[in-house]
């Protein structure tokens, strides 16, 4: 969870507590599409028969979300923002075996 990276405040509320929003710079977003690899898939298929948490997939999705998140931060940084408000996450299965992880928010300048 890289949050205060490069001095960018990221929140999923409308305001950032302790700061005043000066300017709004539009919607920024970052996404990644990840597929599973074969070794993980086989081990998780075996785990799936018995049931329970699929740890490998949990870790895979956390890594992918971090990637999508940092891409969004790059977008915000390129616009000269120092805050992102109203962050939202979305997940969609684009094809069997691959999932898109997407996050978006409003880039703002805060003081």
């Amino acid at each position: 969870m890289p949050s205060l990276v490069d001095g960018i405040h990221v929140v999923n509320t409308e305001t950032i507590p302790g700061f005043v929003i000066q300017d709004q710079l539009g919607v920024v977003s970052g996404s990644t599409v990840r597929a599973k690899n074969v070794v993980r898939d086989i081990s998780q298929m075996l785990k799936n028969i018995v049931g329970g948490e699929l740890h490998q997939y949990t870790n895979l999705l956390i890594e992918s979300r971090n990637e999508a998140f940092s891409r969004m931060l790059e977008d915000a940084k390129a616009r000269g923002a120092n805050g992102v408000v109203n962050l939202r996450f979305a997940t969609s299965a684009v094809s069997p075996g691959a999932a898109e992880l997407f996050c978006y928010g409003t880039a703002v300048i805060v003081e």
């Binding site: 929140v11 302790g18 998780q44 049931g51 699929l54 997939y57």
Partner: protein, 187 residues
Amino acid sequence: MEISGYLVLLFFILPLILWVTVWGLFAIAYPFMFLYGALTSSASRKRWKDDILRREKDTLDKVGRDLLSMDKIRIPFGSSNPEVIWASIVIGPSHWQQLLGLLYNLIGGSVDIYRDLLAIGRSEVLQRLREVADSKGFDNVVGVRLDTSMIGTQRPKGGGSKGIEIFAYGTGVRNAVPTSFTVQKPE
């Protein structure tokens, strides 16, 4: 002659033997794994539930109240250093549970086995969010949202591994008051 014989052995016979061995082992092991999943299904769910309840109680004892809320922030004071935090889990219904779900599908009605599994997954993920917030030293987590999605079906028509991802995120704050704490009760 000799070389082509070796080639046949190397590229045809050996892979065939390997393939048959792997699938044979899988075919022998599968019924046992299925049975194990079926027999331990309710016990493991109960254990998982107890574990979550215990951890929830630990956090409650430590903090004194629930950290999570869906509120917005109204009155911030001091420096609060807000941060987005998240937690997620991928749960796989066992083949036994999938079979039960399929049977429920025939007679209709509420599919209790999936409801139970999803309820456990949700409480687990919310508890993980509380633990993350607690470890980062936040007083409150506001604007908590939950997101559920199906991932990783290998083949479109069933089969392969099925995963249900549950994802929770929110904004951790310090020294800030969520709105519900500031609402006055009418006299």
